[in-house]
């Protein structure tokens, strides 16, 4: 009993303290500092601002819809079928997440060139299509996996019944499966939307010089124009937009999320046609840009070789450490960030699902915000707010993983919460009747059931951290703690084929390591826990 009494306050306070110190306080500080109401009113009367706002909203919405449509077949395949390389496929799909934008932009440009899409009637370069393609590339995995892991736990007999009653496959999907997937779809969609809403590098590099979103405008005003008043006014608008979006998506999720029994599902082997069509789709959306990158990393002055990879262990004079050391730093930071995200996000999920109503709403809402706030606002906010004891963290080495964890927490929350909500209360009641404390119920029932979702969230948190550039570059850091994406940008910042080749090789190694790490994170031993089968 004492343990239980002790545990709940900890479960509540850890996320509150973490979010409060490292997110709410810095962001409030920076907003208050630069904010004057006048600038906001000025913005609202400015036609350019409304164009920017409209573009920000619609490109994010279009990217989200595209990602949903393209990912659902794959999610179905992962959820309902058993085939060789299933977990490998899932890990590979997460890889785009770590790819630094400048490299992806390069890969897409090379791809457009290959297919003659740089100019002419089907021009892609510097169009909104390039931007949408890149957003789908980066975010497909969120839908594929969030929805996929939820789908796995749904009782497949309901579909069987519908089919027996004569429903066609399309009908079954639209009228039986999709409504039950709604909580997971809403979860994934809100995360993708927020990611695209605050997307930075993709807009700058692939959208071309004429496209602007709230995020790029905040950065331009704060950094290039030194106009903190305008930047803050824009940040306030961004925060307002994000808050209303999160409220809407939370409402949808709660309304749709019904309880459902979790069942052992037998998974058949997919037909070749189904597997082929699915893999083909994923290959085009995710594989092609990655293949272009691998090709370029192998190209050296003497034809194809592993020369670029061998060079990664030697330090170039431009870099404080070798590319390999930078990779090591990235991995270390990612491990710390993932641990933080899993603990804080895991606790927060418990509060959202089992906490009192108001507390639950507050957590559900607050923990999503870091995803929708600009890296400039957060980075500068940390500098301004965390500058005096006891919160003197500005040049603290672990501030970088803390910032990464903030972005990782929403992923943990958004994969774990729908799964926890789905757990049949009867299982928990039964456990309690048998004398388990609610702490034990958590440990013995909820945790094993939510384990798969927690692993998916952890994998995302890891991938986000390894590839993160924006917030990292704003935070002061020690040069020997150079991360791989920063090293990559520096290699690409000086002319010379050797440096470019190394940058490409580094990007590929980054891809492979993330893929492996995701496999490890999710590769839990089979058959443990209360319910077997879907883990």
């Amino acid at each position: 009993m004492t343990l239980r009494r002790l545990a709940w306050p900890v479960v509540v306070l850890v996320p509150v303290a973490f979010l409060g110190v490292f997110f709410l306080w810095p962001v409030a500080n920076i907003l208050v500092r630069g904010f004057t109401g006048e600038r906001l009113w000025g913005l609202l009367r400015d036609a350019v601002f409304w164009r920017v706002l409209w573009f920000t909203v619609w490109q994010a919405a279009a990217s989200t819809v595209l990602a949903l449509v393209l990912a659902l077949p794959g999610a179905h395949l992962l959820a309902r079928f058993h085939f060789r390389g299933r977990s490998l496929l899932r890990a590979l799909a997460t890889v785009p997440f770590v790819m630094p934008t400048v490299v992806v932009a390069g890969a897409f440009t090379a791809l457009f060139e290959q297919f003659g899409l740089n100019d002419g009637a089907f021009r892609m370069r510097h169009t909104v299509w390039a931007l949408l393609a890149a957003h789908v590339f980066f975010n497909l995995a969120i839908v594929l996996r969030t929805v996929g892991s939820y789908w796995e736990g749904l009782d497949g007999r309901v579909e069987d019944q519908a089919r027996l009653l004569g429903a066609r496959p399309g009908q079954v999907f639209l009228r039986v499966t999709l409504p039950r997937l709604a909580p997971a779809v809403a979860s994934a969609a809100s995360v993708v939307f927020l990611f695209c809403f605050t997307s930075f590098g993709v807009i700058l590099l692939l959208g071309g010089p004429t496209r602007a979103t709230l995020e790029t405008e905040i950065w331009r005003h704060a950094v290039w124009r030194g106009d903190m008043a305008s930047a803050s006014a824009l940040a306030v608008v961004q925060l307002g937009a994000v808050m209303s979006l999160v409220l809407v998506s939370n409402f949808l999720q709660r309304r749709r999320g019904g309880r459902e029994q979790t069942r052992l599902v037998s998974r058949p082997v997919p037909s070749r046609r189904l597997l082929g069509a699915n893999l083909g789709l994923l290959l085009v959306a995710l594989g092609l840009p990655m293949l272009v990158l691998v090709e370029r990393s192998l190209a050296t002055g003497y034809g194809y070789s592993l020369g670029n990879y061998r060079a990664l262990t030697d330090r170039v004079t431009l870099l404080p450490v070798s590319a390999m050391t930078a990779l090591g730093n990235s991995l270390l930071f990612a491990v710390v960030a993932t641990a933080l995200a899993v603990v804080v996000g895991g606790f927060a999920s418990l509060v959202v699902v089992y906490g009192r109503r108001s507390l639950s709403h507050f957590f559900d809402f607050g923990m999503m915000l870091p995803l929708g706030v600009s890296a400039v606002t957060l980075g500068f906010g940390m500098l301004v707010a965390l500058d005096a004891p006891p919160l003197d963290f500005r040049s603290w080495r672990w501030l970088v993983p803390v910032a990464h964890a903030l972005i990782g927490i929403p992923f943990v929350l958004r994969t774990v919460v729908p799964t926890l909500r789905r757990i049949d209360p009867k299982v928990r009641e039964a456990a309690r009747l048998l004398g388990a404390s609610s702490f034990q119920v958590g440990r013995l029932v909820d945790f094993p059931l939510a384990g798969r979702a927690l692993a998916v969230g952890a994998a995302f948190a890891f991938a986000v951290s390894v590839g993160e550039f924006g917030a990292t570059s704003f935070l002061p850091r020690h040069p020997d703690r150079l991360t791989a994406p920063l090293a990559l940008f520096r290699l690409l910042g000086t002319p010379g084929d050797v440096l470019r080749g190394q940058a490409m090789a580094l990007a590929v190694v980054l891809m492979v390591l993330t893929g492996l790490a995701v496999l490890v994170i999710e590769g839990r031993p089979r058959g443990r826990g209360v319910v077997r089968g879907d883990f």
């Binding site: 002055g301 500058d387 040069p479 002319p495």
Partner: protein, 348 residues
């Protein structure tokens, strides 16, 4: 002829560098202190260089990086008076006035300034000290030009229809070489710069957001099809040093009559508790040990005339004799209005 002159200029610098360096007396009481140097993301010196400073003075130096130059200055302004570091390095002449207006620096006139040409010393009150400089110029890909179509010679040539569709520049609102090139055209044409850019647009100039995308995306070097790009005077030596396979001379050249000079400064941050040690670090940053280490790590030129240049720079780096320049105050007063007009003319 001009190339020949700049060659002798550089050769002159090298000869001067053979002279002995006068060692500075070490201020008392700084032994054992640790100070922090805040830099932009492109900063690095060779291993052991900062150790030399510690050996001389007993002061340890910690490095702290904060984004690109613009981000670093913006964040330094936000923390003015309660800085994260003792010395800031990397504010350039296009952002200098903003930093000075925010009262970031404690004045300090280093004795080592005597080795620095006065043309680089832009702040009469010595709130900042010039550490290095470089030119932003049009670079060209050598193979694409010959007797029938020689490389362009000046800004005027770029609007000649023979060079239509060949130039790629960066957006001055998102890229520092892009801003430098816009400033070069303003220094050259005065009020006529708007007309000039309208002509460049008619001549199909391409615009990218950042340097990487211009150089590696659209310039020939990265597989693009445009042979003219806004880059640095030090890009050819980098192309030479990092060539794959090795080459005898760089594939690119620089149009020396199109250059805008960028000067990077360091300053002692107001609010530092280690003023004497910070000043000693400024002195050290102008010493030959530090200055001679700059070119191959950051691909810019040392500010001190006593510093020797590495071979690749002597052979392949050219500096403009008479680069375009504008005063930091002028730039700060008009930058937003210029870039706004530029956006209207070139992108809309």
């Amino acid at each position: 002829m001009k190339r020949l002159i700049s060659f002798f200029l550089l050769a002159g610098l090298t000869l001067v560098a053979c002279g002995e360096e006068a060692s500075q007396p070490v201020p008392e009481g700084i032994d054992g202190q640790t100070i922090t140097l805040l830099t932009h993301g492109s900063f690095w010196v060779s291993e052991g260089t900062l150790q030399a400073f510690t050996d001389q003075t007993g002061v340890q130096v910690e490095l702290l990086e904060g984004g690109d130059a613009g981000e670093m200055v913006a964040s330094a302004i936000l923390t003015a008076g309660n800085p994260v570091a003792d010395v800031l390095y990397g504010v350039d002449n296009t952002f200098l006035q903003r930093a000075l207006d925010a009262d970031l620096f404690e004045p300090y006139a280093s004795p080592a300034l005597s080795n620095v040409p006065s043309a680089l010393q832009l702040d009469g009150q010595h709130r900042v000290t010039p550490i290095d400089f470089g030119d932003v110029c049009i670079n060209y890909w050598g193979d694409r030009f010959d007797e029938t179509l020689p490389p362009p010679d000046s800004l005027d040539d770029l609007i000649d229809s023979r060079y239509a569709g060949q130039l790629v520049v960066q957006n001055p609102e998102t890229s520092s070489p892009g801003l430098a090139f816009l400033l070069a055209t303003i220094a050259e044409y005065g009020d006529g710069w708007e007309e000039y850019w309208a002509s460049l647009r008619r001549n199909e100039v391409a615009v990218t957001t950042g340097w990487e995308e211009a150089y590696y995306g659209q310039f020939v070097s990265g597989g693009g099809d445009r042979p003219l790009v806004v880059s640095y005077a030090s890009s050819p030596p980098a192309e030479f040093i990092y060539a794959d396979p090795p080459v005898v001379s760089p594939p690119t050249g620089v149009l020396l009559d199109t250059c805008f000079r960028q000067i990077e400064f360091a300053g002692v941050l107001k609010g530092t508790p280690h003023q004497a040690a910070a000043q000693a670090l400024i002195d050290f940053m102008l010493s030959d040990t530090f200055q001679e280490d700059i070119p191959l790590n950051m691909f810019v030129f040392p500010a001190s005339q006593t510093a020797a240049l590495p071979e690749a720079f002597v052979n392949f780096a050219r500096l403009a004799e008479d680069p375009y320049q504008l005063s930091p105050a002028d730039i700060e007063a008009h930058r937003n209005e210029w870039t706004e007009r530029w956006t209207q003319i070139v992108l809309r």
